[in-house]
């Protein structure tokens, strides 16, 4: 059974978003990292780049396959997790903590309301297990 961060909201494609001060932190869920298996590379954008909700944010490469990751919210990249370059397995070990991907300045906070609540995501991702 996968764990859910109750403080985050979710996209059905298994990204999470969590508000921290003025920024929103983004990563992938425990369900996603478990389904992908050992993660060996994460390709992330540079800071300053601007994305719309649903844009491809980067790529997660597991032993098995490459998977696109999508922006849960529109916004500008404020910070990128540089630790993933040397230790992509942080996504497997701590997907809601040290395995975060990017922090963004969210452009449209109303989009936040459209994301899945932890309870709704638990139901959604549970259907795949």
């Amino acid at each position: 059974m996968s764990t859910i961060d109750k403080n985050a909201k979710y996209r059905p494609s298994h990204e999470w978003a969590r508000r921290e001060g003025n920024l929103v932190v983004i990563g992938i869920s425990d369900h996603a990292q478990h389904a992908l298996g050992d993660i060996v590379f994460v390709e992330l954008p540079e800071t300053g780049k601007v994305f719309k909700q649903g844009d491809t944010l980067g790529v997660v490469e597991s032993v098995k396959a490459a998977s696109d990751i999508y922006m849960p919210l529109s916004g500008k990249i404020a910070a990128v997790n540089g630790d993933l370059a040397g230790s992509p397995d942080l996504v497997n070990k701590d997907c809601y903590g040290s395995g975060w991907f990017v922090k963004i300045e969210a452009a449209k906070l109303p989009e936040w309301d459209g994301l899945l609540t932890p309870e709704a995501y638990e139901v959604e991702s549970g259907k795949e297990e």
Partner: protein
């Protein structure tokens, strides 16, 4: 689990592919490889027949010797790769699961009178025990010292009470053995190896298909359908060493022509920065001109590198040559590496 040549095979166990790979390099990996096929060739004409079918030197093999060979067609391209064991009175040939029907048909079409080819795949189970602690583990549960079998030889032994044919061979670059035994004894033998590993304090880890692939890839060993296939000749794949041009074998004339003209492409290993190269990805020159395609690629856990094998224009085949690999539409810098990335223990 994934379907593989008619078998349900685990891509990984719950341990995870990277740790399975590293555990095999560090201690012992157990491989459930019943899918591999086994043919037994015997009869008065068997020695000459095997020598003509196999690219490698065969007739100098003594009883219990084991040797790698290719099975080539007249074009010198690769029908399959084989491990050939010489048992007293019979040749024991290990073939790839997906090529079983093809190989049987090929042998059947070429064997003359006085040669018997029997498919022993269904009644034979195969488990590989690989890693620096593998032989000590096998010694502890066998009625003979497996450590007394030199590398690339074989012998009969009871392992955990199960009568096995034991080859001091493998597909990981580590020391170890491959066990052939009656199919009904698989669970008993597997459980006994795990239990003995625990008793001896050796991490003894089941290894799935993904780590089996990365182990063989690092060690520079080919996987049929990737580095070798009926569309790839033995010379361009780098297997001149497995061809004995002092004897007659199927495909010899075609390979001699390739050697005199020079191969049109060569297999290289490319280390890539900034992404994971995979099968089918385009390889470019530093100027952006297409020079080949990747046939396999992955993260290599022991050497901690991203690498692919590719067939490229021979002008770019020398180690140290700069190339590019297109990953998700973007060219990433790569360099042709010295093969193999991980030197197998038997070559040290």
């Amino acid at each position: 689990m994934t379907p593989f040549a008619g078998y349900d095979m685990p891509i990984t166990y719950p341990t995870g592919a990277v740790e399975e790979h590293l555990a095999c390099r560090r201690s012992v990996g157990l491989f459930d490889i019943d899918h591999m096929g086994q043919l037994e060739v015997s009869g008065p004409g068997a020695d000459e027949f095997v020598s003509r079918m196999a690219s490698a030197k065969i007739l100098d093999m003594k009883d219990w010797d084991a040797r790698y060979s290719l099975l080539l067609n007249e074009k010198g391209t690769v029908i399959d790769d084989l491990f050939i064991y010489r048992r007293p009175g019979a040749w024991w040939i290990v073939i790839n699961a997906s090529n079983r029907e093809t190989d049987l048909a090929w042998f059947g079409a070429h064997k003359g009178a006085g040669v018997s080819v029997v498919d022993r795949s269904d009644d034979t189970y195969m488990i590989a025990v690989q890693g620096p602690n593998a032989i000590a583990l096998l010694d502890a549960v066998s009625d003979r010292k497996i450590s007394g079998f030199p590398r690339f030889t074989s012998g009969d032994a009871k392992v955990a009470g199960v009568p096995c044919f034991v080859g001091r061979t493998g597909y990981t670059g580590e020391d170890g053995a491959e066990l052939f035994f009656p199919a009904g004894k698989a669970v008993k033998l597997w459980d006994a190896l795990i239990a003995e590993g625990i008793r001896l304090g050796f991490a003894t880890i089941p290894v799935g298909l993904a780590a089996r692939d990365s182990l063989r890839f690092e060690a520079g060993m080919p996987l049929h359908g990737h580095e070798i296939s009926p569309e790839i000749n033995a010379i361009e794949a780098g297997f001149k060493w497995a061809c004995d041009f002092d004897k007659e074998f199927t495909g010899k004339a075609a390979l001699q022509a390739v050697l005199s003209e020079g191969p049109k492409r060569k297999l290289v290993t490319i280390e890539v920065q900034g992404g994971v190269p995979r099968e089918g990805y385009q390889v470019l020159s530093p100027d952006g001109v297409p020079i080949g395609k990747a046939v396999a690629g992955m993260f290599c856990p022991t050497v901690r590198k991203y690498a692919c094998n590719a067939f490229v224009d021979p002008a770019f085949a020398r180690s140290g040559t700069d190339v590019q690999v297109v990953i998700h539409g973007k060219p990433k810098s790569g360099i042709v590496a010295k093969r193999p990335l991980y030197l197998p223990t038997y070559r040290r």
